[in-house]
Symmetry: none
Subunit: 422 residues, 2 copies
């Protein structure tokens, strides 16, 4: 089956915003075994939208359009679709009430304009937006399927699997194959090296599509299998997955929707271990990531963003002499930070980061990107040095990844035995 993609918005064709929706949707459709013959972007303009739909549906059985469903004057997609196919709009009172409800519950001013977010072309089926007020809709016209979604990427990522995929599978049952897919998330390894290590597995040769998606600081390897039956698909996927894990084991930190912070949180919770974190160069990013996990209060006792040397000394008990002699960015300081924050928080584990995020502050012996990460459990303390070659934000992200990876390996291997691996 062929499905075209139309992304709508002046921010796209003016180049102000990089369109990420089209490639996300294209990838999801490909995973289902459906082709995307064309992707198009046009302005929030009725005529432009109508022309685009006509051209795309000349080459595809369905089109997924995104953008222009908001309450403002430049949101014209719904009206454009209705006019293009001579349809009236109807107002869905039930949805209108839901939207009003959201506004009332959170004390937001209701603007009359918001009403139009409950208007849909007659004959269309609304698609629920679980994270916003702009609902989408699906419409059958002239034997073709038109699906319209809002333009916000995070909303599309929720609506596509929950609302769009079911409609497509229902409308085109014959083209729905059994698809099995597994995303394997790695870090601390280059894309080229992953590719090389997988070469001898000959996955493609056995009908396993392998996609590489660098997603800083991760590399995502996506295995996709399409078969007549779910059982066949799952069986082939399983063997392929095992081969990948064999070859890349220690770089894998999560599968599918799992995250590194989620895996660490699950392990800490399961093992009933508590954690305190002392951050210098990451500036709170490590605890920010951990607290994205609901329930993190069970294991995260506290964090200390010890940006100044005084804070390292006062809160973590790192002696001034240590900092003077070895520097705030040193193995000695990193170890004492981990041990110090563990004591401060009365926790089982202490995790620390210190480094030079840049762009300034580098030196001959310690260039920008020099980072130390340490983990203390009261018996032992492990520390590892890194040299990251990226700009400030990426150094912070890579450092938080290294720290959480060290912690994950410690938890997964049940102790500092993980040391050799770290």
């Amino acid at each position: 089956m062929r499905v075209g993609i139309l992304t709508i918005g002046n921010e796209l064709i003016s180049g102000r915003t990089q369109d990420t929706n089209a490639s996300y949707i294209a990838r999801e459709l490909n995973i289902q075994g459906w082709q995307v013959p064309i992707m198009m972007s046009v302005d929030d303009d009725e005529t432009a939208i109508a022309k685009a739909l006509d051209h795309i549906l000349g080459q595809a059985q369905a089109v997924i359009a995104t953008g222009g469903l908001g309450p403002t004057a430049d949101d014209k997609t719904t009206v454009a679709v209705a006019r293009a196919y001579g349809l009236k709009l109807y107002r869905d009172e039930a949805i209108l009430l839901k939207i009003r409800g959201i506004f009332e519950r959170y004390g937001l001013n209701w603007i009359p304009n918001n009403d139009k977010q409950a208007d849909f072309p007659e004959g269309s089926e609304p698609i629920v937006n679980p994270v916003g007020t702009a609902w989408g809709f699906a419409l059958n016209v002239q034997g073709k399927l038109i699906i319209v979604l809002p333009g916000v990427p995070s909303e599309i990522k929720r609506m596509f699997p929950q609302g769009v995929l079911p409609v497509l599978r229902r409308t085109f049952p014959e083209s729905a194959q059994a698809v099995a897919t597994r995303t394997i998330k790695l870090s601390g390894i280059s894309e080229a090296e992953v590719d090389q290590r997988l070469a001898d597995a000959d996955l493609e040769g056995r009908g396993v599509a392998v996609g590489f998606y660098p997603h800083f600081p991760e590399i995502r390897v996506v295995l996709t299998v399409r078969k007549a039956s779910e059982t066949e698909a799952q069986a082939l996927l399983k063997t392929a997955e095992e081969q990948v894990i064999q070859r890349l084991d220690r770089h894998i930190f999560a599968l599918d929707d799992e995250t590194l912070e989620g895996t660490v949180a699950a392990l800490l919770t399961e093992k009933k271990l508590t954690l305190a974190v002392a951050e210098s160069c990451t500036g709170g990013l490590i605890t920010d990531r951990l607290t994205d996990i609901s329930g993190s209060s069970v294991f995260l006792e506290r964090g200390a963003v010890t940006y100044s040397n005084l804070a390292k000394t006062e809160l973590l008990g790192v002696p001034e002499e240590t900092i003077r002699e070895f520097g705030a960015v040193s193995e000695q300081t990193a170890r004492l930070m981990a041990e110090g924050v563990r004591k401060l928080g009365h926790t089982d584990l202490g995790l620390s980061s210190t480094g030079i995020a840049g762009p300034t502050g580098g030196s001959e012996q310690k260039p920008v990107g020099t980072v130390f990460v340490a983990l203390a459990d009261g018996k032992e303390t492990i520390c590892r040095k890194y040299l990251f070659r990226w700009e400030r934000r990426r150094v912070k992200i890579a450092t938080s990844q290294a720290a959480l990876t060290m912690l994950k390996r410690y938890l997964a291997t049940g102790g500092m035995s993980g040391k050799q691996q770290v």
Copy 2:
């Protein structure tokens, strides 16, 4: 003038590669004052390319196509363009020699296929590629201009200003305009409300294009003006900008490439004030954002992620009774956290956040999304309550935005006089 963009390649329509060429070219064209009515991506396929060119040139005087100029079998763009307009190919021997020269210089072995990189449709003008072997070309057909470039972004960024812009300006001399644009970043207000408040300014009516770009937790209002002269453009933009600022002043936190954290950092540095931050529900996100700014160590003394009640009591001196009586999520606790972390860090200012990020932990009186943000300067402490309606991550982001906004207003208004505003 209207210029369409066509990006060619299976990696694009399969979603394997994020297309960045289209938005780069669109941005460059807009800066020149030229509109991009349509952007399209299709497969490396002769028919698809021909159809796409035909559709785009139906709506534009020119098209810039990228991709498919390489030596391999799936590089079909040149042939597709020639066939589409019934043109023969000619081989440019001078260019062929240049390409061969590059191969020899770098000791690459020459494969016969490379010859085709010196083939161009008859009547076309080659466009030099200063960093690669795939030259582009410009072709006038049926009163329209077709420009073809390779697909490598780094090569396009060299070829566009050097090779493409001159051809466009020469071909359409009458259409070169001056463009002035301003991005105004707001938060704490809904898109619909921004739209309503700007309604009476009648910007569009006076030739000022207004775009709304929700960019959680911000809303970006982009004003664009095109005039014959730079002076006219700047003048109109200035008056338009003043009108927007008048109507939305207190919600504006930055312009163009400025960020909220960057503005706060600049104000703290300029006023030589130091800051300590106590975070509960934001889990370190506030200090993470502040430490994204190079030089933040000048004003950020430390942060305390007091996730447990014990940490709030031990580090910040929030009495157990206060937490027991009013709760960890309360105005009383938020105020004491801000005052406590200020003392802890010996700083001029103390900033705090406490709230229920959800999805669990909500109650009748304090539903999920209930957040308190406080700021202490040693003389006074201000606190504000919020109720955010989003999921966990967005509650954290919105809370960090509210806290940094409170701090920014305090710094901008020179004291707690900002209180009324907050």
